[in-house]
């Protein structure tokens, strides 16, 4: 499918497509109610409650007043609907803001000021410097005579460096005036979301040039929400508008997220529902049988002989209603409430406030805090997330002399400054390379300062550092470079630029010194690509050592080199280079080959060391979270080397002896698939070894791997705890998230830029860093935090507590409803299986709404372990990850407990209140008070830390129960008039209560004590240690890899301890090198079995029997 865009022609493009209105809203005014209701009723629980509420309208079968279900139901729906409406309204407002922004367009040859939403496809849009691009444009003209402009694409792909965009060749040289009248047609693909590709053609109509078709690429476009920089103006024709822009297509709809816990609760609800149906069927049949055999004889019941057709249904339906409270309607309300509070706790946390900017953390999604505690994979962006995104030149080594070693800042090293003043040749050459071996553009700002516009932060850092060392790169005029060294102007003419590619890992420039006409080759690059090209006789050992030394410090190193070229040599080579540059097939490879011919016999000047400062606490955070059993993947758009460097310096991967990096790459598809296979084999074998294995893949290889070897890649993803994916696009990031999600892992994506938005939306939990790359990611994310290190607290403290609390709260909710339901069921056996409710309507409603919900709500401030303990023993997070506190078996425990308690309450009540005391209202109240007493003690027993609030709510609630019932007992018209006063004045009532508590809690308490002492879970042990003031601090150095089988006494290895021999962190095992290893993988343990145990490594570990299910 193609789209034809007629430039500047309103009529032709009109019917083509939409205007530029952006809409992210879900509803509009008209469809809100039906759509929202439909959405709410798509949840099983809501359908269930609606059904129950409808059934209750039939007075023949209802045991209680219908209001007891309708009231809460309407309340719940109103709350959810208004929350949705509020959110949508805010989306509408922000859209409106974007839509009503003013832009300049050309209409009928006249410049006009219109709102962004009125831009049509085919309009020519004018932008000034620092304007945001309102829709996708094809560039037509810029203020630059060469037709170049600079854009910042951070919002789109997260890369903060400036990108150049050029006008299509057909538009070169068109006069500014003529641009207004330009006509033509662009043939472009229908909107898609690939932000790296735009394959289109343009033809201008006469009088412009000719009829030649001019091909367009992504280089000729300005995409929506980029910013125009360093360019006075630019204009372009809009090709995609509104939600059809590349960004709009990328945006995707954020699906509502459901936590693993919600899913589990839903599952348990389903199980309870099935149980309920079974109970209803059994009791229904029993009831009908009893009715036909016994009740017919009971004249006082007066069963009619002739029954309506639905008579058979009446008793089962009555039981259905009686049992409907098995699924507590209150659970949704209380869960929403506590989830809101979890989110507030995150926002309130003063320890998660970025001190620099004063930004607090923000929880946009209040519903998924528990998932934080269950995270298994963290996918992180690199730049701006792990790092500060500030490159600083720190040290250098010139001619074997280390500068900056003492104070860590070469710029302040007097020795270096002396060397510069004294004019040491090597140092000056070194500075020259720093200053001009790059693609930096110096721009003079209005204030006269020089600002460098660099594509890479490294180059920026080098040029800036050179300027500080008195070698100031002043200006670039076409091919003329101007340097100011100590006040002297030096000019160079750029002859060639040998561009950086990730294969060559170096870049060079060939310049002619305008002073003496000498031709010089200046190179900079990674040590492994520069050092082999050193001229014969030069000792590279000191250089290698310097590189090694800097790498250990986590600095990014570049070797700088220099060679003077002979005129002839250059000319000869230049011809070849030109030839290679115009080759159509394998151009990149040919150029590389030609470059190779020039870049030899280099004189190595020295090494620069640049610090890409990691954010504070990043290595510690990653280490702690890895200890907690969380796997880290780094997904970055950055270069492979940089990614690996950063990964090394932040404990992401370990250096050689302990860690191993496996590369997946290749030039062709076969290469990639072979490489993938090899990596997979190595991975299978090494997972059993105490080694940190990580794989590295780049975007291109990833594309192939996902296209052709998806299954293999998925297996690899499951096997590997660490991965580095470089040069990946936003949608690939999202794809990776999806792969991990499809393997049923809980994923958390953290990023800071617009390129992370999709991944953040895709992941189970999206965390945005509200950093300097704008707030795009933070806005799309579920949580936004100021710094990466807050992630530790977010997961270990907030996530874990939330999980624990919800686990208790949800199971408790089921427990208390089951308790009362079991009593009703038991009672039906002594009431002729007729479906009589033992409790009156008021009690039943108040039981769920007041008596039992208040104490448990206070469990949101319960803490099983102190924050410090958790931080010291992050491994305890396993309990949450593996869902150890809420699963069918713990639930079975609560189920059993409610059954036991129901039996206790029921048996004691009917025996203690037999004969002359067996009055209905009284008996009901005795049973109810028994339940209330028991639940107070159950909450108390399950509470780990009692604050004032807990005491207040648990015991206050008990008092409240009596107060409420005294009130009801004082109303003459209520059914329970005087009942409570009568009961409370009877000694036998109190005696019965104590008996219920004693008999109900005794065995449970004993069981808990037994488990706690003789079968303690790790949580229990830590509780004991923490509260007895035990020596928990000595446990810090426990080996952390959960998958290690062989217990090895490995002290934490830092980068410093790396052996010089294994300097390169990248080690590629060859297939032939490890034949044994491969055979082993096909050995007894089949790979499949293996990765099962791998995929749930925590569940197979030692906690199986420590489930907290009592």
């Amino acid at each position: 499918m193609k789209r034809f865009v007629y430039i500047n022609d309103d009529e032709a493009s009109k019917e083509l497509c939409c205007d530029n209105r952006i809409s992210n809203t879900k509803y509009n005014l008209w469809n809100f109610f039906p759509k929202n209701l439909l959405e709410q009723f798509s949840r099983f629980m809501n359908q269930y409650f609606l059904l129950i509420a409808c059934l209750q309208l039939w007075s023949l079968i209802t045991p209680v007043n219908p209001a007891s279900t309708w009231g809460p139901l309407i309340f719940i729906f109103a709350v959810s609907a208004s929350k949705e409406a509020w959110d949508d309204y805010h989306r509408y407002l922000s859209d409106k803001k974007a839509n009503e922004r003013e832009v300049w367009i050309v209409k009928h040859g006249i410049k006009k000021h219109i709102q962004a939403q009125d831009i049509q496809v085919g309009n020519i849009v004018w932008l000034r410097e620092n304007d945001e691009v309102p829709c996708d444009l094809v560039l037509l003209g810029t203020s630059d005579p060469q037709g170049v402009c600079y854009v910042e694409t951070a919002a789109l792909d997260g890369e903060t460096d400036l990108k150049t965009r050029v006008i299509p060749s057909a538009c070169v040289g068109i006069d500014l005036e003529l641009l207004h009248k330009m006509k033509g047609v662009i043939e472009c693909p229908i909107p898609d979301k690939d932000i790296r590709r735009f394959d289109a053609n343009m033809r201008l109509f006469p009088p412009f040039i000719d009829n030649d078709v001019c091909s367009l690429t992504i280089k000729n476009t300005l995409l929506q929400s980029c910013y125009l920089r360093n360019t006075e103006w630019a204009c372009g024709v809009s090709v995609y508008t509104g939600n059809q822009t590349k960004l709009g297509m990328c945006r995707g709809v954020a699906e509502p997220k459901l936590t693993a816990m919600d899913a589990m609760i839903d599952k348990l609800t389903g199980a309870i529902f099935v149980f309920q149906i079974v109970v209803v069927l059994v009791l229904g049949v029993a009831g009908n049988v009893w009715k036909d055999t016994e009740a017919r004889k009971q004249w006082y019941v007066q069963y009619p002989e002739e029954a309506p057709w639905y008579e058979l249904l009446v008793i089962p339906l009555r039981f259905e209603l009686l049992c409907s409270i098995m699924i507590p309607i209150s659970i949704k309300v209380s869960l929403d409430l506590v989830k809101g509070l979890y989110a507030k706790f995150i926002e309130w946390d003063v320890e998660m406030v970025d001190q620099e900017t004063g930004t607090a953390s923000y929880a946009a999604n209040t519903a998924i805090s528990e998932d934080l505690g269950q995270v298994e994979y963290i996918l992180t962006d690199k730049t701006g997330t792990l790092t500060d995104n500030k490159m600083i030149f720190r040290r250098c080594c010139i001619g074997g002399i280390f500068y900056g070693n003492e104070n860590g800042d070469a710029l302040k090293d007097t020795q270096l400054l002396d060397a510069i003043t004294s004019g040491s040749t090597d140092v000056i050459r070194f500075l020259t390379v720093m200053a001009i071996c790059n693609t930096v553009i110096p721009v003079r700002s209005k204030a006269g300062e020089i600002i460098y516009k660099a594509q890479s932060q490294d180059e920026d850092a080098l040029v800036a550092a050179a300027a500080k060392l008195h070698m100031v790169f002043v200006g670039k005029n076409a091919n003329r470079l101007e340097l100011m060294f100590n006040g002297v102007m030096i000019r160079y003419e750029v002859l060639e630029i040998l561009e950086f590619t990730s294969d060559r890992k170096r870049m060079s420039v060939v310049v002619r010194d305008c002073q003496n006409g000498k031709i010089i080759l200046l190179s900079k690059g990674a040590d492994e690509s520069i050092l082999p090209s050193a001229c014969a006789g030069q000792q590279t050992r000191t250089i290698a050592e310097a590189v090694e030394h800097y790498a250990q410090l986590g600095l990014r190193t570049l070797c700088l080199a220099w060679r003077e070229l002979e005129e002839d040599e250059y000319l000869e080579w230049s011809v070849k280079f030109k030839e290679a540059s115009s080759v159509l097939v394998d151009r990149e490879w040919r150029i590389a080959e030609v470059c190779q011919r020039l870049e030899h016999d280099l004189y190595i000047l020295g090494v620069t060391a640049i610090e890409d400062r990691l954010q504070d606490g990043v290595p510690e955070t990653i280490e702690t979270l890895r200890k907690a059993g969380i796997n880290f993947w780094m997904l970055t758009g950055d270069k492979q080397n940089t990614a690996i460097q950063i990964a090394l310096s932040c404990n992401f991967i370990s250096p050689e002896p302990k860690g191993q990096l496996l590369l997946i790459d290749g030039k062709s598809e076969e290469d990639v698939s072979r490489s993938l296979e090899r990596v997979l084999l190595t991975m299978r074998t090494t997972t059993s070894e105490p080694k940190d294995v990580a794989f590295v893949v780049d975007g291109w290889a990833l594309e192939i791997a996902l296209k052709h070897h998806r299954k293999d890649f998925v297996e690899l993803a499951i096997l590997s705890r660490t991965a580095i994916c470089c040069r990946v696009t936003p949608s690939q990031k999202a794809q990776l998230v999806e792969i991990l999600k499809s393997c049923d892992y809980r994923t958390l994506a953290i990023g800071d830029g617009g390129n992370d938005v999709r991944m953040i939306q895709q992941a189970d939990i999206g965390v945005g860093i509200s950093g300097r790359e704008g707030l795009q990611a933070a806005r799309a994310a579920d949580y936004s935090i100021g710094r990466f290190r807050f992630l530790k607290r977010l997961i270990l403290v907030h996530g874990r507590y939330s999980y624990n609390r919800t686990a208790f709260l949800s199971q408790y909710s089921f427990y208390k409803s089951l308790l009362i339901c079991f009593i009703q069921i038991f009672f039906s056996f002594i009431s002729g299986v007729s479906g009589t409710s033992l409790f009156n309507s008021v009690s039943l409603m108040a039981y769920n709404v007041f008596y039992t919900s208040v104490p448990v709500l206070v469990s949101v401030i319960d803490k099983d372990l102190s924050e410090t303990t958790v931080m010291q023993h992050p491994q305890i997070l396993f309990y949450c990850q593996a869902g150890r506190l809420l699963n069918p078996s713990t639930f079975a425990g609560w189920f059993g407990r409610s059954l036991f308690h129901a039996i206790v309450v029921f048996v004691i009540t009917i025996h203690a209140y037999a004969y002359e005391k067996s009055e209905m209202e009284e008996l009901g109240m005795v049973a109810l008070s028994g339940c209330i007493w028991l639940q107070a003690f159950v909450v108390a027993q399950e509470t780990n830390s009692f604050t004032v609030l807990q005491h207040l709510s648990i015991w206050g609630n008990l008092v409240g129960f009596y107060v409420i019932n005294f009130l009801f007992s004082a109303i003459p018209s209520s059914g329970m008039y005087t009942i409570m006063f009568r009961l409370c004045s009877q000694p036998s009532y109190w005696i019965t209560m104590f008996l219920i508590v004693g008999a109900g809690m005794g065995p449970i308490f004993a069981l808990k004590y037994y488990r706690y002492t003789y079968r303690p879970s790790k949580i229990n042990i830590l509780q004991q240690a923490e509260r007895m003031g035990g020596p928990i601090l000595t446990l810090g150095n426990i080996e952390t890899q959960p998958r290690t089988i062989i217990e090895k006494d490995v002290s934490p290895i830092s980068i410093m301890s790396t052996q010089p021999k294994n300097r390169s962190p990248v080690y590629e095992p060859l297939l032939s090198e490890s034949p044994n290893a491969i055979r082993r993988s096909f050995g007894p343990g089949t790979p499949f079995e293996f990765f099962q145990s791998q995929s749930r490594l925590s569940s197979s570990s030692g906690y199986t029997r420590n489930c907290k299910d009592n």
């Binding site: 945001e132 910013y227 004249w299 006082y300 004969y915 209905m920 004991q1024």
Partner: protein, 350 residues
Amino acid sequence: MPSNTASSSSAPAGSADSSSSRTKSKRPKYSKFTQQELPACKPILTPGWVILTFLVISVIFIPLGVVSLFASQDVVEIVDRYDNDCVPTPARANKVAYIQGGADKSCNRTLVVPKKMKQPIYVYYQLENFYQNHRRYVKSRSDAQLRSVKDENQIDACKPEDDANGRPIVPCGLIAWSLFNDTYALSKNNQPLNVSKRGIAWKSDREHKFGKNVFPKNFQTGNLTGGGKLDENKSLSEQEDLIVWMRTAALPTFRKLYGKIESDLEKGDTINVILKNNYNTYSFDGKKKLVLSTTSWLGGKNDFLGIAYLTVGGICFFLALVFTIMYLVKPRRLGDPTYLSWNRVPGGGR
């Protein structure tokens, strides 16, 4: 600094600005609650505390059980089942026909007082296998109608005994309709023994639930006659038998107060009961018993509480003992870090 200018100039996105200022202004305030740092008491289950708790419970429960048992033993109770014996032998083949028939239903019973009974002595009738808690039955009443005359027509819940001949029945419903109507006339050693029928119903019921100016109407005039009839000249609040009956029982075996004897009975006294066996329990094999009983502070004769207390107390004592032995035999250090090593994985923990 180049990077600085870039970032400051990237601000024009208006919403970004406003939201950043919003987050800034929302800088959280410190409080113990918001930081989840409220001072908390964190108890742990040390063996000492647990054993002590169980001991204390058993020490409280066992004496309580003994006291309850004694209280129950103190109660003197005479139970006499008469439903079978009060049907003349020839009629026993078809008791239902007998009870529905018109024959004289008088019956003589003789009870011997086994122990001295102090006044007040309560006279109960006990019904077994009678489901007053059946859903059809328990809902078939109109409280509004019982309370006041003007709500006489609120009879929706009373089906099928709601109206007769097109006029509402007062009191309506199955409960009232099936009023128990056996009567007992007691005599001690051939002297008539006064059984007081005043004050047998709850005071609150008499005063608030059953109207003083509500009189029975249309009662038992339908096709089917259920239980007892009511004196149309007595207001409902004075019909204490009805009030007692209408306090439905929650269990199929229940006792309802018939009257009180306000004099002591000596051991060996013979009590002669002339009863009218009117009430039909034969169609559903229900038992009828006459009960004379004194009370204690715990109520009537009921050993359950005492035995249950003794059992629970005993179990707690036993548990305390077991835990003590376990503690002595196999002491375990709480919070021992050696139990913690995280790398006793994966095989080891299984």
